[in-house]
């Protein structure tokens, strides 16, 4: 990877963070005194747990379990992972809200953390007063803030409301002002945790642009945590995937997102659907129909060439005969965006208390090359068009659409979407003569 220069901004070595589980009550006083007394006499602490390097032991939990990380100056690094993977804990350690249990961290530069926008805002004080307060909390001096005040107000789009107590602000205004303060800090390292979850789309884009500018033009280091893969993709050039307190991937953004989302893909041609948990809705408590399994017919793996139908056999058990039963397949691209949906072309006939087998052919002509997963839904509709859910299996199966061999085009899902429409037919209105085309070449 190109690190622009090899100046280190953040270096994390073997950092662990342990949390105690359960309530911390007065009962710990005795244990604390015991431990303290033992330490004083250089004896073994009677309350130490044996560290077997696993994530959970005794009454404690390792939120971070040995993180090694080096971030260079000017890098925009995304951090992704499921809830509880340790993302926020890592950022908390870096922004010095809490200290690591083990390991060392070196930070070269000042840190502006936007862990939660609006921290330190007081509802009774005016926007301007709060800007001073927030700026000071983030380490700016009064004169620095005064010098940037106009820029901050302009960026926040607050305008004449700046001298109104923030309790009269709308939540959007509140966030905008808070982000503006943090974004105008002279910090070398910016830490952001889901700050863009609020605010309107236009402002979100403005913030992303501002951060990108900070990283690219000003050479600042940006650490960004988000569940929104699109913002990660558009802002970061490097991405870290955390899982269960460890770094499982560190590198290119697309590969990182793949790793993060890839954990869920089921690629076997046979899927037992009885064990997959159904969405928790009332309609699915007592199901009339039960999906049993799915078996790919035309392939040994779930891989089809674009245009070739994906054929599979669905087995289900019918408890009660539904009216006008149909199937719906909702197709998602691997990053979780909906690619589209497909319905069965006709209703299927069922006999109560019987097993039913249906062969299905999902057309893949309009799916751009890539990995997709499918939610499978059975529903019935009555004469009035009211639909009733029969069964639904989320992520019932996945399949890979590969491009035809002669096609060298790489499909860019982030920019072009997931549907490839039929080729646009072009016809030359005027066929250029041989001499004209020769001229064209010359002028070019």
């Amino acid at each position: 990877m190109d690190n622009k220069n090899n100046e280190i901004a953040v270096k994390v070595s073997n950092v662990k963070k342990m949390y105690r589980l359960g309530q911390i009550g007065g009962g710990t006083l005795q244990a604390d005194l015991q431990s303290w007394w033992a330490r004083l006499r250089h004896k073994e602490d009677p309350n130490t747990k044996i560290d077997d390097n696993s994530r959970l032991y005794g009454q404690t939990f390792m939120a971070l379990n040995g993180i090694d990380l080096t971030i260079y100056k000017g890098e925009a690094v995304g951090i992704i992972g499921r809830n509880g993977a340790g993302k926020s804990t890592l950022l908390k350690l870096l922004s010095r809200v809490t200290a690591p249990t083990d390991g060392e961290i070196d930070i070269y530069g000042r840190i502006a953390s936007m862990l939660e926008v609006g921290t330190g805002f007081n509802r009774e004080m005016t926007g301007r007063e709060n800007v001073y307060m927030n700026g000071a909390i983030l380490g700016m001096t009064r004169s620095e803030i005064s010098a940037k005040m106009d820029k901050i107000i302009e960026f926040s789009e607050i305008g004449e409301f700046i001298d109104t107590p923030v309790k009269r602000y709308s939540s959007g205004m509140y966030v905008k002002l808070a982000f503006s303060v943090a974004a105008h800090l002279d910090a070398e390292i910016m830490i952001m945790d889901e700050v863009l979850a609020v605010g309107d789309v236009v402002f979100q884009k403005k913030c992303l642009d501002k951060m990108r500018e900070a990283a690219n033009r000003d050479g600042r280091t940006v650490l960004y945590v988000s569940h929104n893969m699109n913002t990660i993709r558009s802002l970061c050039e490097r991405c870290i995937v955390l899982d269960k307190g460890k770094i499982v991937f560190d590198g290119e953004v697309d590969k990182a997102i793949e790793t993060y989302l890839g954990g869920r893909e089921e690629f076997s041609p046979f899927c037992d659907l009885t064990k997959i948990e159904r969405p928790k809705t009332v309609a699915l408590k007592n199901r009339d129909v039960d999906f049993l399994s799915i078996q790919v017919l035309n392939r040994t793996e779930n891989r089809v060439e674009q245009g070739e139908p994906f054929r599979f056999l669905i087995r289900m058990f019918v408890h009660k005969k539904p009216e006008n039963a149909m199937l719906r397949f909702i197709i998602y691209y691997r990053d979780g965006t909906v690619a589209g949906a497909s319905f069965s072309d006709k209703t299927f006939v069922c006999i109560p208390d019987n097993e039913l087998e249906i062969t299905a052919e999902l057309p893949t002509k309009n799916l751009a090359p890539g990995v997709y997963r499918v939610d499978m839904v059975a529903f019935s509709s009555d004469a009035f068009g009211n639909r009733r859910l029969l069964d639904r299996v989320d992520s019932a199966f996945s399949f890979d659409v590969v491009k035809k061999e002669d096609d060298t085009l790489l499909w860019n899902h982030a920019k072009w979407g997931n549907a490839q429409f039929d080729d646009t037919v072009i016809t030359m209105a005027q066929v250029p003569s041989a001499s004209e085309s020769a001229e064209d070449v010359q002028t070019l």
Binding site: T28, D32, K73, E104, E124, I137, T141
Partner: protein, 286 residues
Amino acid sequence: MAEKNRCEKYHTHISSKQKRFDLNIKEIWRYRDLVFLFTKRRFQLTYKQTILGPAWIFINPFLTSIVFTFLFGKVAGMSTDGVPQFLFYLSSNAIWSFFSASLTNNATTFTSNSGLFGKVYFPRLTVPISNVLSSAINFFVQMLMVMLVLVYYLIKGKVSPNWTAWLLIPFVLLVLGAMGLGLGIIISSLTTKYRDLSILVGFGVTLWMYATPIVYPISQLGDGIIKTILYINPVTAPVELFRYAVLGKGMVSLPLLAVSLAFTTIVLLIGILVFNRVEKTFMDTV
């Protein structure tokens, strides 16, 4: 190269192995604007949406002094060493509330600021320092009132302050402020884990007031155990020095002042030590 120096300048090293005593005065100085803003905010917020506003700074001690005058002066008939009762209680109240506010406001540093502390880093000591500053401002405002009453009694010829001793009032404030800060942050550090202490503080401070010559002069209490307690009490000596300056009546004892100063130093050092330990991880336990 300049860029590199800039980064070197802001190098932060975080390690699981904590330094025992880590008082970064330079950093606090860098955040001095924050200290002032915290102090300012304390005043702004206390008197926002009140009709009388900052007038409350006067009304509170005024009423307290009237109650003291009535209760201890008239009902209990306590002597004030010949000093006009109202002036005596007003000045005593000013110096005691400076100390007690420094202590009680700091005793909840961690628990009442956990929302802010949990989100962003800044030198945590800025909060206790600003608390002491705002108690000091309150004290100065009360002193204005004391001066007014003092002038009245001066004209009537009922008091004779030791004006040269007034130069020692900053020293008194420094000792009492530092003591309150030290004790306050020790308590606040312990309350992050054991909440019992926060309940004890209010009660303890009231008790402490009666163990200090605040509502009575030290000369009132004869000998024996009570006098010993008063002498051991590290607040006694500074309070008496203050009274000696303002009212012209009081006990100035250098050994007792030295003990008080030593106590303050020790409490402050222990306070910073404990505070340093707790501030790093208190978010996990609070």
